[in-house]
Symmetry: C2
Subunit: 518 residues, 2 copies
């Protein structure tokens, strides 16, 4: 256990220099914060969709207004390049606005109405109406690699607030200044919109006890987390041991296997390689959707592809890692991986760069058969590294893919019609293991849309039935309630006959926006 400390230091990973100190939230504050969140959960103001829409839109406005200071702070604390931080800030704002739109449309409610049917068999059917209601206070643990989009006002917070849940957000301790600015924007927007005081709170801290106290607190109803498998599983285990267990939606990263067919390489090796170099080095490879293992065919096309990738990455600038822990962790991962039987490191060095927490990128290689045989070769290496898995034929390729555990995503680069039969086989083996299957692109971009699925079977997440990105992410923090033969005034407005805001409802089995009995 890490002993609690009084302050958090922000460090510039580009130089290793300390930027500023921030007060840690005392563990003793948790009870008060959770009590306020429990009060907020029962407050009709938080149940009012108009107020939540205004709070989410106001938060986006406030974050854009804080732009210059926020971006500068985030760049300094994360070492992420300016373009990436600017894009992530805009994505974070758009995400808040998209969830506001979901709330305004009532699409998160999954409203269902089954009118009474006195002729139903085996017994007459009552009037039953159902919608999703918020679970209650949600604790969010932000990720270091997306200080904004998966941070204090990131996707977990936005979707939980959209669902109607109070949120206590713990930003990543690597970026305390960023967390503080974002928390201020969101808190002011929530207050200005008229949400109750406990609807949103932020905490800061690196001490394990703080996170544990939040997960243990009796009033907390669910947890959202983005980070490592070790930390995510620890939270999951802790939440499962509570007297009242609660769901932990932990997104824990992935190797994201990519498949390059011989035909695809023959036709467009350069474009595929350029894409790979970007995917592996962008944000220093610190993306949960980075293609960590790339299947490259044996033979001259594959050799040429591997050689060109090694050459390009050997010349790449050292890449800044987000913090000292990841910096040491990356070097240790590469050392471990290169020591596994059959694995070779193809780039010289992959050691630390000159300044701060930076590394040169690494390319490793292994035979697909060796990768299939050893789980420790399929583990995520978080940072600018890629493992090229060389395969002899389709049979070996499919067998190696079948060895993978749950993944967030996989990608396939293939040619039609030559590869059509293989692609069908690849799809079968991959969809059984992933949340998202991407064609002719690397999975690093994750669009915030209705259909997006950012999740997958364990160990990619602890809750394969849900997504942490995209407009169905609210579903994680809601539960169904039905009302049987209820008077109109008791029903929540979305379930009343007149359908006052014209939301989509499943009425007697069929989607409809119409009022009832009209």
């Amino acid at each position: 256990m890490t002993p609690p400390s009084a302050t958090l230091s922000a460090v510039d990973p580009r130089t290793g220099a300390t930027l500023a100190d921030y007060a840690e939230t005392p563990v003793g504050d948790v009870a008060r914060l959770v009590a306020a969140a429990v009060d907020a959960a029962a407050d009709p103001a938080l149940a009012d969709p108009e107020l939540r829409v205004e709070a989410l839109r106001g938060a986006a406005r406030a974050l854009r207004e804080a732009g210059d200071e926020l971006r500068a702070t985030c760049e300094a604390e994360s070492g992420l390049p300016a373009g990436r931080v600017a894009g992530e800030l805009e994505r974070t704002c758009v995400q808040l606005e998209l969830f506001a739109g979901v709330v305004a449309a009532g699409d998160h409610l999954e409203a269902i109405i089954d009118p009474a049917d006195p002729d139903a068999r085996p017994v007459p059917r009552p009037d039953v109406r159902r919608m999703l209601v918020p679970l209650g206070p949600v604790v969010v643990f932000g990720a270091s690699n997306f200080p904004l989009a998966f941070g204090v006002a990131g996707g977990d917070t936005a979707s939980a607030l959209a669902a109607g849940c109070p949120v206590i957000a713990k930003g990543h301790p690597s970026q305390p200044g960023t967390n503080e600015i974002v928390a201020g924007c969101l808190a002011r927007a929530a207050e200005h919109a008229g949400l109750p005081a406990g609807a949103f709170a932020a905490v800061q801290g690196a001490a394990q006890e703080l996170g544990e106290a939040l997960v243990d607190a009796e009033g907390v109803a669910a947890v959202g987390f983005t980070g490592s498998t070790r930390a995510g599983r620890a939270l999951f285990d802790r939440a499962a041991r509570r007297p009242v267990p609660i769901p932990v939606h932990a997104e824990m990263g992935s190797v994201n296997p990519a498949v390059l067919t011989r035909a695809a390489l023959a036709r467009r090796a350069d474009a595929i390689r350029e894409g790979l170099l970007t995917a592996v080095t962008f944000a220093s490879g610190q993306l949960c959707t980075k293609p960590g293992v790339v299947f490259v065919p044996d033979g001259p096309e594959g050799d040429a592809f591997a050689w060109a990738a090694v050459t390009a990455l050997a010349d790449a600038e050292p890449a800044v890692m987000l913090n000292e822990r990841l910096h040491h962790g990356f070097a240790a991962s590469i050392e471990q991986l290169r020591g596994r039987p059959g694995v070779s490191l193809l780039t010289e060095g992959a050691g630390p760069g000159d300044a701060g927490f930076s590394h040169t990128p690494a390319v490793l290689t292994v035979a697909a058969g060796d990768l299939a045989a050893r789980p420790d070769v399929r583990e995520e290496c978080f940072g600018p590294a890629v493992l090229l898995a060389r395969y002899a034929d389709d049979r070996e390729l499919l067998a190696a893919l079948a060895s993978f555990e749950g993944q967030l995503s996989a990608s396939v680069f293939a040619e039609s019609p030559a590869d059509d039969a293989l692609v069908d086989e690849l799809s079968a083996v991959l969809t059984a293991r992933v949340g998202r299957l991407v064609f002719d692109a690397y999975p690093t971009g994750v669009a915030v849309t209705w259909a997006m699925q950012h999740g997958g079977p364990y160990p990619a997440t602890t809750a394969a039935g849900h997504t942490s990105v995209g407009l169905t992410a609210t579903r994680r923090f809601m539960r169904p309630v039905c009302w049987q033969d209820a008077p109109q005034h008791v029903l929540p407005p979305p379930l009343r006959d007149e359908n006052p805001t014209g939301i989509w409802r499943r009425v007697d089995g069929t989607p409809s926006q119409a009022p009832l009995g009209g």
Copy 2:
């Protein structure tokens, strides 16, 4: 731990006589059964909706054809009255057919299509299409109190098969003959429809090791359970400790508080009392939706209601319990409950009847304030018993209701407009605690419809986000997968442009049955 035994004895609870012996499934068979289920999960035949529709409909036909023998066996093994068994069989068949309809319509897939948008901000949007896919092999633990509707071919099995998951069903060991007949019907229907051999299997056993081996088996992806809090929580804990944790959907029963307002009693005390007597004695009160605690106002109307209820139940026939364990458990529960401070047993006896495992019904009473103060007074008493909680005023009523943990349901008997303001307050406090809120009826009937919610916050279930009854029950056994920029031939048919079977899909945010680009 219960030592494994070679045979299960069916016992007629009406007499205590042994009916027949059945072989227990050896724990050593689990690995083979799970391996077959894993194979079936990857078999395209199980993914074919038409074959699953035929299997579900065929199972309903086979169960109806087995009617005479099945009903007789079930009556003898459960002690449930003939009318109840016949109704439950019909409900089981209708349920299988309703899920077949869901599969035929593609409504369980929650299909979503976001067409590409090159103008999207902050980055262009790819084509993303998502639907739910089956989780994999599901283990179902049947309940003793619904040997058919929550048994080997009950709601968990029907919804898991509808979802496309192989099922290994363990019927309740109290009714091995019933389990055997039902398993035969379902197995033959699955085979006749062309489902793979491992798509359905049934096991029999009372040994704890058998259930544990099923939950531990590596290939199992989810668990459905209906039964006691103790057993459900043990399975949940075990599944959470696996190297790869899996979801446990345990429905663990409930007290189901019912509220009678003073105005409702003044107007229709007789009808409310008649309903209560039926709800408490039907199936010997062995329903997870039995109203276990009924809030009755202080004063002459409440006294008269309580007196009439006691008089009627004191004259009731001894009720047959499902098995010896529940028989002893019920007597012990009553003894414990009557010993709590402030609780009185109003009926003479509540002791065992003459023959077999039967009891006379029991009425107990407590002050609402005492109930609010003691969790052990709010515990479920499984059998023909009801606790009348007397309240002085609305404040005391609401405070007592706020003391309850998660419940499957609650019911409210009130008069409009006199009680309108109170009913709004009751709804707020109850919807925060229950899955279903029923007006002017007891919750014992659970209609199988789209909007039905049979679930609730812990300890009513281990998965408040889902339901075990109703047409959304398939959602428990599915997870989303999305395809990004996939060629048409790779996409599952429900996500292809032409929408071959005309299912409802959310296209660019809006429900539609239309093909794309038409």
